[in-house]
């Protein structure tokens, strides 16, 4: 089966700063793939290139079999994206937000209404359907963002620090939803700097100053760094200034 995401020498510069340096990745369908790294390591830039939000300086990226650089519009029907910030409309209700996003993906009329009901029910939003999104708590906001990003059942889902600022209980619930989606065949790419979240990924790419410095299952990475936990590996990486191995 063809990989869900393939990048070849994907490169992005902002002026003199190299945000992502010649990144090669292959992410399998249905995989939960983590991008791990400190602030400024290039995680968000990578995700933004893969979703077509910013063009790469050079290199290629393929998502769900479609060349993102050459054909950014076609790929949008196949991917879902949840940004770091709550990107939904505070002044629309839960249901209106869902309807809007479903509509943008062509889910309209009876089909759209059915999909919105399905998501409202499945995510326990029924008692809150008429609540303004701006008045939801952090955990529920994340849940609504996830619902809007997956209204069209995308093949690939990008989550940029999805649980930043959300309490641990809500985080655990959120990950249950993610696991459920992955079990259904959705490929999931998630950036994080929470180590417990990183542990939940099947494979991790560790980024350091825009470079890929480690790739593999969490246990393989701890072995590679000779540390007990991922967190120790992460800290060891940050303390080891200048030198990097892949």
């Amino acid at each position: 089966m063809r990989d869900a995401i393939i990048t070849t020498a994907l490169h992005r510069r902002f002026g003199d700063l190299v945000a992502v340096e010649r990144l090669d990745l292959a992410i399998h369908p249905g995989e939960i793939f983590g991008l791990l790294g400190a602030n400024g390591s290039g995680k968000t830039t990578t995700i933004r290139m893969l979703t077509g939000l910013i063009p790469p300086t050079s290199g290629t990226a393929e998502v769900a079999g479609i060349d993102v650089v050459a054909n950014p519009e076609a790929v949008r029907q196949r991917l879902g994206y949840m940004s770091q910030r709550f990107g939904l409309y505070d002044d629309l209700t839960v249901q209106e937000n869902l309807r809007f996003y479903a509509g943008l993906y062509g889910l309209i009329g009876r089909e759209g209404a059915a999909r919105v009901e399905e998501m409202l029910t499945g995510l326990d939003f029924l008692p809150r359907r008429r609540q303004l999104a701006g008045t939801l708590s952090g955990g529920w906001k994340q849940r609504l963002s996830l619902a809007c990003a997956t209204a069209h059942r995308p093949d690939v889902l990008f989550l940029d620090e999805p649980t930043a600022g959300v309490d641990p209980a809500a985080r655990r619930q959120f990950w249950q939803l993610i696991n459920h989606l992955a079990a259904g065949g959705t490929t999931i790419v998630v950036t994080t700097h929470y180590m417990d979240e990183a542990e939940r990924c099947q494979r991790i790419a560790m980024l350091w100053r825009g470079r890929l410095v480690a790739l593999g299952a969490p246990r393989e990475i701890t072995t590679q760094f000779g540390t007990a936990t991922l967190e120790d590996a992460f800290i060891a990486l940050q303390e080891r200034d200048g030198v990097a191995t892949a």
Partner: protein
Amino acid sequence: MTEPESGSLWQRVRRWTFWPMLQKEFIQMRRDRLTLGMMVGIPAIQLALFGFAIRTEVRHLPTLVLDEAQSRESRELIATLVNSTYFDIVGTVRGREEVATWIGRGDAAAAVIIPHDFTRDIKRRRGAQAQVIVDAADPLSSAAALQGAAQAGLAFGAGLTPARPPVIELRVRPWYNPMLTSSTYIVPGIIGVLLSLTMVIITGMAVVRERERGTLEQLIVTPIDRTSLMLGKIVPFLLVGYVQITVIILLGRLLFDVPLRGSLPLLYVMAFPFIVASLGVGLYFSTLVRTQAQAMQAGFMFILPNILLSGFMFPRAAMPLPAQWLGLLLPLTYFLEVLRGILLRGVGASALWPELLALCGFAVFILTLSVRRFHKTLD
């Protein structure tokens, strides 16, 4: 999974991302009470402000009298001047120095000086002379006073001499606005100025707000096309524009007796390209600025030359040529012609097609420009 490319034309139209966008914009507009209030409140306030405060016709200048003749004729002359309504007598003085003091202090803006020999010259039919001094620091009021004095002088003279047919008679008839009231002239202009102001600022801010709140980022990764995004922002405000026009015409009529001599449907048709052009300018600004405050500033920067150069406050004919050319680059210049033409002169479509053409040109040009500048990327 639905593919937008597939299906019949009807299916494609139904699935066009414009529809959910439009619905969303209307819901947001309905919930934003403050903006809604501004949309109706601002026209009302502006109208009252401009309509009542801006008076370019000057009457009732505080006037001083120095009557050295002290005769029946001199008193008649003063009465004629007062009756012209241009002059209000605020004091009587005995010496010329006093006249200078009063005007210098600003207690009087004009003075009537009737010399000793005034009565004698009238009786000898030698062309009696009286003097009207005007404080011309403000050219607008002095022009009015000079005109008033000349008229009064003619009227007074006509009463003295037996009818003698003049060699040339030049009769001036002020058409369309016989009372020469400035509100009649200003109110139609306010429609245009206000429309551009609110349309440019509100759309500029609406797009930038999405960027500031992070919703634009979420929107860009969906299959929404640029046209849907921009049209979705424009259409609700188009309706707002029409509400504003209607409010101003109604209030203008109630408060200032501004006439509507032409066809209202024609005015609404002509307003369409103007509103679209103004919205387009707002959209264009939104691609240049980063914050809502900047969008607001850009809007005001745009409005200033509009007020000065379009002919809203100052007649274009009086401007130097380069300023007139600059004015031709502003949609408002054309729309003012339309407004005054339809409201005051009652002209029909046949007289306004050059303006219609120009406005449509602006609308298409600026919309194309902003859709092109708006890329579905973050940088």
